[in-house]
């Protein structure tokens, strides 16, 4: 049970949140311009790193907002969380 710091609400238990996948995968501005392979890259390909990982969470049973987090996927420890548009932790 992770303890997650919602940028708006503070530390809350993981059950209040829903994971929302890898962060910083922007939807292409004009999908029609993409090849099938490029579109598949956007839809499906993920970094899936062992180490620092930037991910999205939603405080679904709290304020309802999406935010980003940097977490190490081997230790599961958070370097920090940040609001959309903010810089990730160094």
């Amino acid at each position: 049970m992770l303890l997650i710091r919602c940028p708006w609400c503070g530390d809350r238990p993981e059950v209040e949140f829903r994971h929302a996948g890898e962060a910083h995968i922007a939807r292409p501005a004009d999908p029609a311009m993409l090849t099938d392979a490029e579109w598949a890259g956007f839809l499906y390909e993920r970094a899936n790193p062992r180490g620092d990982y930037r991910e999205r969470w939603r405080h679904i049973h709290g304020c309802g907002r999406f935010f980003n987090a940097q977490r190490h996927t081997l230790t599961d420890r958070f370097a920090g969380t940040y609001r959309p548009g903010e810089e990730p932790p160094a």
């Binding site: 992770l2 993981e14 598949a40 390909e45 977490r71």
Partner: protein, 424 residues
């Protein structure tokens, strides 16, 4: 000496204090400088691949030198961390063909390997708790029967008769409305599968190298083709490289510059203390999230769900275990005084359509077999068999064709998850 296992061999050894048993597989400290085919990953799938390569395809592999490189100890990943459910009653014909190929191999595997993998076709019962579940279950039964895969529908009373500890009363939150039973399904002894394949492959000349981590993939600068791997025990040249690294696949493929449609999640399981036989079959409920059987040792073997976030920690949250046992107690109220003895976690590599990827990659000489998610154990022999043929021939085995990596670009997905809610 006669290296075959039998009760006679055991009796003979008993007379001399079991001094004559040799290592079950050769485990050279270091790899040779070159192989014709290297299998990266010493789990059940990787070892099976090596075994079938050596047994059926040596002629197409030049001198036929084959090695399995394992980062830790063989069978130490998901092979030794799953709940050992075996079945083939998948919805889509492509899936049913793959998994039934595996079940047919399971049925003769102990004899094939001369190693008792304890395949126990005690029947897998998949429960329905809503009319939607019933419709989905019936669709599976129809589809499987047409494909020649056994699957039958049981009424709640028949479910109770098949699995007496099951509460089929209307008192539970999601009463049982029926179930799909595959009698040929069952369980096997997971560790024995890795060891049995390792022993049999080793006997055919395969080098099984443990504690050998791959840290790089070398490629021909001109063609881009794989030329070998860099390992913690030195460089190894090879013409064909088969990656069977489960949860670590993304990391390995990244060494070849490939991004994969995979994410790795923690998956937990647990066992109870051992008790006398009380649970005769395997029961799965996707709706209530409970998967249970009883091992030959007497432990109730219970599968839990994945955590929601990707992780390589091999540890998940306690709330997952709690939710799982809530489901078990709800459906099997006599087990509330049983105790959880041990829990553990694995790392499962999950594809967007919850079906595996078996086949070629954009890099010549590089083959991949991954994405088995939460349900790979059951496929072990079939997966190894078709992957070996794929590596040897340089083109997908007919059963593997639909499971190609490029299906994500074309959109020809095999979405068992969408069709059945969960593909375990």
């Amino acid at each position: 000496m006669d290296r075959r296992f039998s009760v006679f061999a055991l009796a003979r050894e008993a007379l001399r204090g079991h001094a004559g048993w040799a290592p079950q597989w050769r485990s050279p400290e270091r790899p040779q400088p070159a192989y014709d085919a290297v299998i990266l990953g010493g789990g059940g799938h990787g070892l099976a691949t090596a075994y079938y390569l050596a047994k059926e395809h040596r002629a197409s592999l030049g001198p036929g030198r084959i090695a399995v490189l394992e980062k830790g100890w063989i069978g130490g990943g998901n092979t030794g961390r799953n709940t050992t459910i075996i079945r083939s009653n998948y919805l889509f014909p492509e899936s049913a063909a793959l998994y039934d190929h595996a079940v047919k191999l399971w049925e003769g595997l102990s004899a094939e390997l001369n190693y008792n993998v304890m395949f126990s076709p005690r029947g897998v019962l998949m429960l329905a708790h809503s009319h939607h579940d019933v419709q989905s279950g019936m669709r599976h039964v129809h589809a499987n029967r047409l494909a020649g895969v056994d699957n039958e529908w049981l009424t709640p009373a028949q479910c109770k008769a098949f699995c007496p500890p099951l509460d089929t009363s209307p008192a539970i939150r999601y009463p049982v409305l029926g179930g799909a039973l595959q009698r040929r399904g069952g369980v096997a002894r997971h560790d024995a599968v890795a060891w049995g394949y390792a022993r049999a492959a080793s006997a055919l000349g395969v080098d099984v190298i443990e504690n050998c981590e791959v840290i790089g993939i070398t490629r021909d600068p001109a063609s881009g083709a794989v030329t070998g791997v860099e390992t913690s025990k030195g460089a190894v040249r090879c013409g064909r490289l088969g990656v069977v690294a489960a949860g670590s696949t993304s990391l390995v493929m990244a060494m070849a510059g490939l991004r994969m449609p995979l994410e790795s999640f923690p998956l937990q399981a647990l066992v109870s203390e051992p008790v006398k036989p009380v649970f005769p079959c395997v029961v799965m409920s996707n709706t209530v999230h409970a998967y249970i059987s009883q091992s030959d040792k007497g432990e109730l073997v219970i599968g839990a769900g994945t955590d929601q976030y990707p992780s390589y920690s091999q540890a998940g949250g306690v709330q997952i275990l709690i939710h799982t046992l809530e489901a078990i107690c709800e459906m099997f109220p006599i087990f509330r005084r049983m105790r959880m003895l041990r829990s553990w976690g694995g790392i499962v590599d999950v594809t967007p359509d919850r079906s595996p990827i078996i086949g070629l990659t954009p890099v010549p000489g590089l083959f991949v077999n991954c994405g088995w998610g939460t349900g790979g154990f059951k496929a072990t022999p079939g997966s190894g068999h078709v992957f070996a043929a794929t590596i040897a021939r340089g083109e997908p085995h007919p059963i593997a064709v639909p499971f190609s990596l490029d299906r994500f670009a074309t959109g020809r997905l095999i979405d068992e998850a969408a069709a059945a809610a969960v593909a375990h």
